[in-house]
Symmetry: C2
Subunit: 430 residues, 2 copies
């Protein structure tokens, strides 16, 4: 009973009277401490999902040559002018140009070259006639192509630099590399891609109540679902999770483990131990230690107790132990930090306007981030708030495509009202 | 010149007069040949991005016990009825229940238990009073809690089974496992997750014109951008790419390499060699070999030459060598096959209705899949077609969020017209 007797007014006021920051204020404090990590080069085939450490410019025009877009004959347009009205123009086929080959001679008036899709159009030729629109005959060992209709210059030729001029910016710094980017990098000869080092993110859970996933249930205990969820979230955000296990509510143990993590990893995320109970060791730990406290209360639901501090230059982010609050706290705070460390140009969740798919009554004095499903109906985006949205609720996380942002004191919101939503990673399957 | 002389009417009619299938018809032929692979179990932390091989049901209710959602005191609501109007009800604090602990005795009238957020509410108690709404005093070694206002039963208690009843389906078969699913699986003790084996997908490029990414440009040649793009696309779709390199336009070499791939991998994707030129070896290969031809022409742009056959039970999918057509062909045909092999419930690209962000004039007799950017403006989805959309164009792939489906003979489409779009993987950054 000693701990209860020891409570006094200072203890309570310290725990309860935290200075609350707005979400954007808290994010701003984190941003200034989340510098991009060092750049490195990775082989192109390992670059998917990484962020470009510098802009990529075209070292040459693309296409690099005038390219035939048809199988047919490269000719001089002027030579075809006499064709038509039953008159066939016959041109001598000087050679055959497969893809990847180069003509041995220029096209001169009266000659043509058989050319394949994708091959370089020979000098002199200014148009390509489709194979199907021609016929061929051989006379004294010489092949001739017959052309029935006149054709303008430039047809079926993709000109040099159509897609990219030399020196053009192809991909900006900080871009998340996707499949189309890989095609562009390959075409331009970028075999090694400049990216930022992947942040190593330590994950620590606190709580005497926690069981491992493979342990049988025991009275009063719950399985630790936050650590596996955070592991997947860190990976989804591009980081490398380092699992440091769950620790019981022991201040000494927590102190030494957190200190070790801060010294060895780029970011330390904890879950649990930040509310106002007797065993909220992360709160105690952050209060007792030296170093800069960034915030220990945010005007948001769920996750108002989200806490962050800097120790030796490294961010310690203490998320709520409530699964819903842990998830929201990760998306609002950890995700942008992990993105910024990789130099991401757009580290935050995309922000959309959507229409409420159902009424929502729970507005209160803090900004609420409500888990919701999205549906696109006839070109309009609807957001359907989860029926049960307590911070402790875990099961609705899996069904959510976005977080609806409900500003403080919104009053009752109705079907069709416009709301801001933060799009969560992944495809909408409504 | 021999090859040109050898051309005759049968050759032309065979190459040009293919029987064209609609996209859905071609997809249907593939589906019947894309059976789910065998199931296997993977540790929970490797299950992200896999597809569930069977539905998961809750083995126990969740929460598994009546859980306190506050730090405070577990009491009997009836005991608090006398509180209020200056009268404080004092209850004897029988014990302290931290998270993870279980009360040693029931709560009886006149008694209370100090309880932490997340702890199991002791039998007898039916409400939890917030710590901040109480005071405590010690008298003769016994601790008492003082209560100022009456409180109803059920407050601050999350009842057993609120989120999930025992036996409830938590996740359906074929679901793509995301971060929220991992939390649910962890909470329910699913340490090993039933998923389908990852399909091994062989990727072969054809073309004498192809350079490796790290080779310097040479006249008439292009770097092979399709193979790295396909490698990333296969991985994005959940498959394991197996890179079999680029082969020059040599029928014998192609035959033996494709045969080897068909015998060793779950799916074989080639790019190039399927149009109507002289060196279109994939077309020649498929014509000459025994086995079932699924299709060799699809009424779509780009990628009408997309070809598929079955050899020894394995799908051979021959995509166009044009980057834009290769990309579209992958998304329409390869992606669903790779998904179905993993048992995906939703193997196709999500289909949305959007409003055209700009006029579009290029409708023709085939269905056109136009690369486009998406923007969400005030709750409405707009699709902006890429300015240059030739099948040969590579650079617009990276800027595309979706493919606009333009049905045949649509005529000119205007700003604001409703169109169907196929959402490509990844986040919209409009």
């Amino acid at each position: 009973m000693n701990r209860i007797e020891n409570k006094n007014k200072e203890y309570f006021s310290d725990k309860f009277q935290r200075t609350a920051l707005q979400v954007q204020e808290a994010q701003a404090k984190l941003i200034t401490n989340a510098a991009p990590l060092t750049a490195e080069e990775v082989p192109l085939n390992q670059s998917y999902g990484r962020y470009l450490a510098q802009a990529v410019y075209a070292p040459h025009p693309f296409p690099a040559f005038n390219r035939s877009s048809m199988d047919g004959y490269a000719v001089i347009a002027e030579d075809t002018e006499a064709a038509g009205n039953g008159h066939v123009v016959w041109l001598e086929v000087a050679e055959v140009i497969p893809c990847g080959a180069v003509a041995s001679r220029d096209i001169t008036p009266g000659t043509a070259a058989r050319i394949m899709t994708g091959a370089q159009v020979p000098a002199g030729a200014d148009t390509v006639i489709k194979l199907e629109a021609t016929e061929s005959r051989v006379d004294s060992g010489i092949t001739y192509v017959g052309i029935y209709t006149p054709q303008k210059a430039g047809e079926h030729i993709t000109p040099i630099g159509l897609e990219l001029e030399a020196g053009a910016m192809v991909l900006p710094e900080g871009k998340l590399i996707g499949t189309g980017d890989i095609a562009a990098l390959a075409a331009l000869g970028v075999a090694n891609v400049p990216v930022r080092r992947i942040p190593k993110v330590a994950i620590i859970a606190t709580g005497t109540e926690l069981l491992e996933v493979d342990e049988p249930l025991a009275p009063g205990k719950i399985r630790n679902s936050n650590s596996p969820m955070l592991e997947a979230l860190v990976r989804e955000a591009g980081g490398e999770p380092v699992m440091l296990g769950a620790i019981v509510d022991d201040l000494d143990l927590a102190r030494s483990k957190v200190q070790m993590a801060l010294e060895n990893y780029d970011l330390v995320i904890t879950t649990g131990g930040v509310s106002v109970g007797d065993y909220d060791i992360m709160g105690d730990l952050i209060r007792e230690q030296s170093g800069e406290m960034l915030f220990n209360k945010v005007t948001m639901r769920p996750g108002s107790v989200t806490t962050s501090a800097i120790r030796g230059g490294t961010i310690l982010l203490a998320l709520s132990g409530n699964p819903g609050a842990c998830f929201v706290g990760f998306q609002l705070f950890a995700r942008p930090v992990i993105g910024l460390m990789q130099g991401a140009a757009q580290p935050y969740l995309p922000e959309w306007t959507a229409l409420l798919g159902a009424e929502y009554k729970r507005a209160n004095s803090y900004t609420r981030f409500v888990r919701a499903r999205l549906e696109i109906r006839e070109g309009t985006v609807y957001a359907f708030p989860a029926a049960v949205d307590e911070s402790s609720v875990m099961v609705t996380i899996k069904d959510s495509d976005c977080l609806i942002v409900i500003p403080p004191d919104s009053g009752q919101l109705s079907y069709g009202d416009k709301v801001t939503v933060l799009k969560l990673p992944g495809e909408i399957r409504g």
